[in-house]
Structures are given as C-alpha cells and as structure tokens.
C-alpha cells in the first residue's frame, strides 16, 4: 500500500475509545499489525481496542461500516455530527456549525462530548471566548475525562496560552 501517488485512505487509523465500552466494525484492511487485501464482498470484524485502517486500491471503492456497543442501546456517540460540524466550519459556515452543535447539545444534555467538541470547533476557528464558554458547560457535566483531554488535545492549541484556559487546568 505504501508508495501510492496520493492518499487513498478510506478509513483513518483509529481505535475505539475503551471508556465508551465500544464498537465493532465490519470493514476492510489493516487490523492490528496485519494487512490484507479485501476485494468486494469481504467482511472484516474488529474488536474495540484494535487499531484499524483501510486504503482504497481502486477508485470508486466504497466501505460500509457497522458498529455498536455490546449490551447497550445504540448511541452513535456523535462522531458523525462532529464530522459534519467540522466540515461546515472548514467551509466558513460557522453559523450553521454552531446551530448544529447547539441542537445536539439540547437533544442530549447529559453528553459532555457535545459541548466539549463545540469548544474544539470554536477553538479551531479562533474564537477563544466561545470555546472557553463551551468548555465550562462541558465541565459542569464531566470533570475527570475532560481534564485528561484538556492536557493534550491539539484542537485546543489556539486557546492553550489563554490564562482562562490555564485556570481550567488547575
């Protein structure tokens, strides 16, 4: 797969967050340290903590991905919303990005990930006041997990030197 003239990554390298108990995928191609070709009609099963990625060998390749947590009612966790919101931000449509995130925060007030990711989107867009306000909202829902993210999340690099951010880390 190395040496492709341009990126054909179709599934970015990732693993599922163990704190979210997490999903199982049906998809092709690198799982753990093992790489295999997966022609049309191939199914790949991946347990939660195993790294997985896939690179298209042909144009027009489509992957169909299914995932869920064992023993839990399905909850997409919001990554698809965040992807759409980030695309809106990158397209300069920040108003729509905000409206989408606000709608999701309202729908699922118990999920800290929505205000936290809203903060990331604001920080990436250079809006320190908004980003810090969303971080405060997220911290009213969850402390421990967010503090771990705050230390190292490069989405927040734009506001890392802000004294108000430093205050949150204490």
């Amino acid at each position: 797969m190395a040496g492709h003239p341009r990126s054909r990554t179709i599934v970015g390298r990732h693993r599922r967050d163990p704190a979210r108990a997490d999903p199982l995928d049906v998809l092709p191609t690198t799982v753990g340290d093992e790489t295999q070709d997966a022609p049309a009609g191939t199914l790949v099963f991946v347990p939660p903590l195993v790294h997985r990625t896939a690179v298209a060998e042909e144009d027009g390749t489509i992957l169909f991905v299914v995932g869920a947590s064992i023993g839990e009612a399905f909850d997409g966790g919001g990554w698809d919303t965040f992807a759409v919101a980030n695309a809106l931000r990158q397209a300069g449509r920040m108003d729509e990005c905000r409206a989408l995130m606000e709608k999701e925060i309202e729908k699922r007030p118990e999920h800290w990930g929505f205000p936290y990711n809203a903060a990331c989107l604001e920080a990436l867009d250079g809006n320190a006041d908004e980003a810090l306000a969303y971080l405060q909202r997220a911290l009213t829902i969850e402390q421990t997990a967010i503090r771990e993210y705050l230390e190292k999340d490069d989405d927040l690099d734009n506001i890392r030197d802000d004294p108000r951010f430093q205050e949150l880390l204490k």
């Binding site: 199982l24 799982v31 753990g32 295999q36 049309a40 009609g41 991946v46």
Partner: protein, 207 residues
C-alpha cells in the same frame, strides 16, 4: 485477522428458497445483528416477512448483482452498492434476486434497546434438519438454542413443531403450552400450523 468473503460464509438453505449466510454467528458479533443472503432455488434472497415480533429497524445493502425488493407492496430494483432502509417494523418486505450472483447484507436492531441474538437465528439453523426430517438433530440444535435463550417462545414453539412431527405428542404439547403461556400470539399460530395436525384433537392442545 477476522476477515471473510461473503462467498466463504456457511451456506444454510431455507425452505422458502433463500440462502442464509451467517455473518454475526461467523464472527461471534454480540453488539449488533448482521447477516448476508444469497439466492436459493426459488431466486428468493430476502424472505417475505415483517419485523412485527422483534420490532427491528432494518437496512439492506446489495453487495453484488441486482435484487428486486418489495417493501409494503412497492417494488424497487436495486443494484450493487444500493441501500434500502425499512423503519416501520409492520411493513412487509422481501427480495428476489434478478441475477444469480446477487448477495445482500442485512443489518437490524431495535431502537433504544441493547442487541440480543434473535431466536430466528437458532430456528434458521435447525430448519434444514427439520425439512430433512432429521428430528433428533433438530431437537439437539433447538435444545442448545433454549440454553442460550431460556423460555424463548419462538424456540419453544419450534421445538413443539419438531416433537409433533417426530410423533412425541406429550413433549410437543408441553412445549407448545409453554410457548403460549409466554406469548399468547403462539396460540393463534398453532391453530393453523399443519405441523400440529397429529396432536390438534388432544384435549391438552391450546384452544
């Protein structure tokens, strides 16, 4: 790596003429329901059914070939890479392969509930043995199913069918009454099920 091509999956041909290719069972997936289907003798590829019992939302993806789906009486011809989603569990749905190489992936689950392995997976697995009148084998498979899903009404009902077909009236009536006690809908199903013809006049048969 847990990798398999759909053509390498187990082949279980059901009497309705479609072939079940167990995906969930192949990998031991516990988080969601996923299975593949290929056409059998009748060209059927997705059985005519509703999701009225399980209340699953379902999505079907055509992996290869062309398939004519009928959803709530409306026909849709789908090719490779096309998806059809059926939200309303009460809608009738089914599919007929238009090409011999057709393959369909089906995913289902009930909104707001954790996935449980459906009784039909066990019943489908026993179906070829029942059809071939290998009743001891069928009873063994359904017994294992009952161990995995204790008191499951559809499994008890299917065991009753097998016992009745095998001529064991006492066992059949015991299983059938247990199924009806757990889910009264099976009383109605039993009334018209020819599998029970041999025991229908027994006073213990649910009226």
């Amino acid at each position: 790596m847990n990798l398999v091509h759909v053509d390498e999956l187990e082949v279980i041909e059901l009497s309705e003429g479609f072939v079940w290719r167990p995906v969930r069972g192949h990998f031991g997936i516990q988080a969601f329901g996923v299975n593949a289907y290929t056409p059998g003798a009748s060209k059927q590829i997705v059985e005519e059914h509703t999701e009225g019992t399980l209340e699953h939302e379902e999505i079907y993806l055509v992996l290869r070939g062309r398939v004519k789906f009928t959803i709530d009486g409306n026909e849709h011809e789908l090719g490779q890479g096309q998806l059809v989603f059926v939200r309303d569990p009460s809608l009738g749905r089914g599919g007929v392969a238009l090409t011999d190489d057709a393959a369909v992936l089906a995913i289902g689950g009930k909104p707001g509930e954790a996935f449980e392995i459906s009784a039909w997976e066990f019943i489908f697995r026993a179906a070829p043995a029942i059809k071939a009148e290998r009743y001891d084998e069928a009873k063994q498979l359904l017994g294992e199913a009952l161990a995995a899903k204790p008191s499951s009404p559809p499994i008890l009902y299917t065991l009753a069918c097998v016992d009745a077909l095998a001529g064991d009236a006492d066992a059949a009536l015991e299983q059938l009454n247990a199924a009806v006690a757990a889910d009264d809908r099976f009383r109605g199903y039993a009334k018209t099920d020819s599998d029970f013809d041999a025991i229908r006049n027994d006073p213990r048969f649910p009226s």
